[in-house]
């Protein structure tokens, strides 16, 4: 190993140890910051899964006239599948629709009897369409309405649910934006707090930096141990944070399923342990290194 690098690492570790309280304080603040960043990560997982679950509840159905033949309906289906906005199309035949209706109303004797009275199946065949994005249902509905297939179509339930779908689509977009914005703002606050703490820690050592410069040390020679110390704050904080998340996610795991419908945070923590640790570690080390480099620069002007 390069002599300079070896000395910088050694001095950084020794300084971390000898600066005692200052190191502990800086590491604690860094732990708090990484905890905030980790919590945002978990919140985002919950938010994203809750929002996509809501999104999946939304679909539209196209009901066909009784005279529409099955192969005609299937050609509509394949035409729809070609559209980039469409995620999935399911065909429900008249018989299937009747089966489902019956299953749903087995307990209701009146309905069952009324159906038996009828000779014909009163239900229509339909296509159930799910879009990639809730905002695209209108495009799909307009496509069907204005296409050659429109004469086969009896009704598209989008036009009944349009207001609800649009509102929901707006809500989902807003929720994602708020989630993203909150992540950004809180991460930024956490980083600023860490930066200022390290700056204060280095401020207390500004005379030492000046002395080192006056005995002939280059800026790099003076800065390197501080950068090592900053990286140490980050690395230790990442280890402490990931340990703290173990009991917290274990405790919140069942609640996350109850309130958000999953995933279980503890399962998520365990199955993504290394990825989460890597994110915290890289964030911590980068934050420590950058803060230390920037903070020492000011006092290196001697």
């Amino acid at each position: 190993m390069n002599v300079q690098l070896r000395r910088a690492i050694k001095e950084g570790i020794i300084n971390f140890w000898r600066n005692g309280l200052v190191s502990v304080a800086a590491t604690l603040v860094m732990v708090l910051a990484l905890f905030v960043i980790g919590s945002l990560l978990f919140s985002n997982v919950l938010l994203t899964s809750a929002l996509s679950r809501i999104e999946e509840e939304v679909d539209i159905s196209v009901y066909f006239k009784k005279e529409a033949a099955e192969d005609e309906i299937l050609s509509v289906k394949s035409a729809l599948s070609q559209l980039p906005q469409v995620k999935a199309v399911t065909y429900v035949s008249e018989d299937e629709a009747l089966e489902r209706f019956k299953t749903r109303h087995t307990a209701n004797a009146l309905i069952t009897q009324s159906l038996d009275e009828l000779d014909d199946n009163p239900l229509q065949a339909s296509l159930n369409i799910r879009a990639g994005d809730t905002g695209q249902y209108e495009v799909i509905a307009r496509f069907l309405d204005s296409s050659a297939y429109s004469k086969l179509i009896d009704k598209i339930n989008y036009f009944q649910n349009q207001v609800v779908i649009e509102r929901l689509s707006g809500f989902l977009a807003a929720a994602r934006a708020v989630g993203f914005g909150a992540t950004l703002v809180f991460s930024l606050i956490a980083m600023l707090v860490v930066f200022n703490t390290i700056r204060l820690a280095i401020y207390t050592l500004r005379d030492e930096i000046a002395v080192k410069r006056l005995v002939g040390a280059t800026s790099r020679h003076v800065r390197a141990p501080f950068v090592v110390e900053g990286a140490l704050y980050g690395a230790i904080s990442a280890v402490v944070s990931i340990i703290i998340f173990y009991p917290i996610t274990m405790w919140l795991g069942p609640a996350s399923v109850r309130f958000f419908g999953g995933p279980n945070l503890f399962d998520y923590y365990l199955s993504n342990f290394f990825e989460i640790f890597l994110i915290l570690f890289v964030m911590g080390v980068l934050l420590g290194v950058i803060s230390s480099s920037v903070a020492t620069r000011r006092y290196l002007r001697v």
């Binding site: 030492e208 002395v211 080192k212 410069r213 006056l214 040390a217 280059t218």
Partner: protein
């Protein structure tokens, strides 16, 4: 070797630290710079170390104007100048040994050189048994001797001593003055800023007297006269 060329330092119109000061120092000279507090002694030494910039004028170390030295050049110049301060300015989280070793490492010395030279420097100042002590565990005189060991360990061409005895008792003062004399006898140029009459008079060397920032006297074998 060292040349101050019409150096002025003006902090504000009512606070003039140095005014048009010119003089030169030859190799192996021992120059005492004397004057009352606020006469500009410390400012003058800071100018040579490029710790502070002059308002006008130039300061040369050999042929280099130290205030025009690049960021890469400046540390190299400073390694050729050993500094000793009134308040010692030791690194508080480093032991006596590490304080001296730091100056060598900063100059790019190898581990072998550090292991060899640091004990020698400690021996020269009589502190071998205090090598592993931190500055707060040392007396004022001992701290100053560590600072001197740090200043000389890289075999500098010049030693700048800014009131090195200002915080010391008469016995320690005498010892430090003797050490500086010894260093000068070994061939190192010494610039000593002080307001200690006894030290200056006992040396019998060149004395530059500053008064309110101006060069008042420059005597070859001078005494402290103000």
């Amino acid at each position: 070797m060292i040349y101050f060329d019409k150096v002025s330092k003006v902090y504000s119109p009512t606070s003039i630290a140095l005014e048009d000061v010119s003089f030169s120092v030859e190799p192996k000279e021992f120059v005492s710079i004397v004057g009352h507090s606020g006469a500009g002694k410390t400012t003058l030494l800071k100018m040579l170390l490029a710790e502070d910039k002059p308002t006008s004028g130039k300061v040369f170390f050999e042929s280099i104007n130290v205030h025009e030295a690049s960021r890469d050049e400046l540390p190299k110049i400073r390694r050729r100048i050993g500094s000793i301060f009134q308040d010692f300015r030791l690194l508080p989280t480093k032991t006596a040994y590490e304080n001296i070793a730091f100056a060598m490492e900063a100059a790019g010395a190898t581990d072998e050189d550090v292991e060899n030279d640091v004990p020698q420097a400690l021996e020269l100042v009589g502190l071998v048994n205090k090598a592993l002590h931190f500055p707060h565990e040392l007396s004022g005189g001992e701290k100053q001797r560590v600072a001197i060991a740090r200043a000389i360990v890289n075999h500098p061409e010049v030693i700048l001593a800014d009131e090195p005895t200002g915080n010391l008792d008469p016995i320690n003062t005498k010892e430090i003055a003797e050490l500086l004399k010894k260093i000068n006898n070994l061939g190192t140029t010494v610039m000593l800023a002080t307001h200690n009459h006894d030290v200056v008079n006992s040396l019998g060397r060149r004395v530059i007297t500053l008064d309110k920032g101006k060069l008042a006297r420059d005597d070859k074998k001078g005494r402290y006269i103000i």
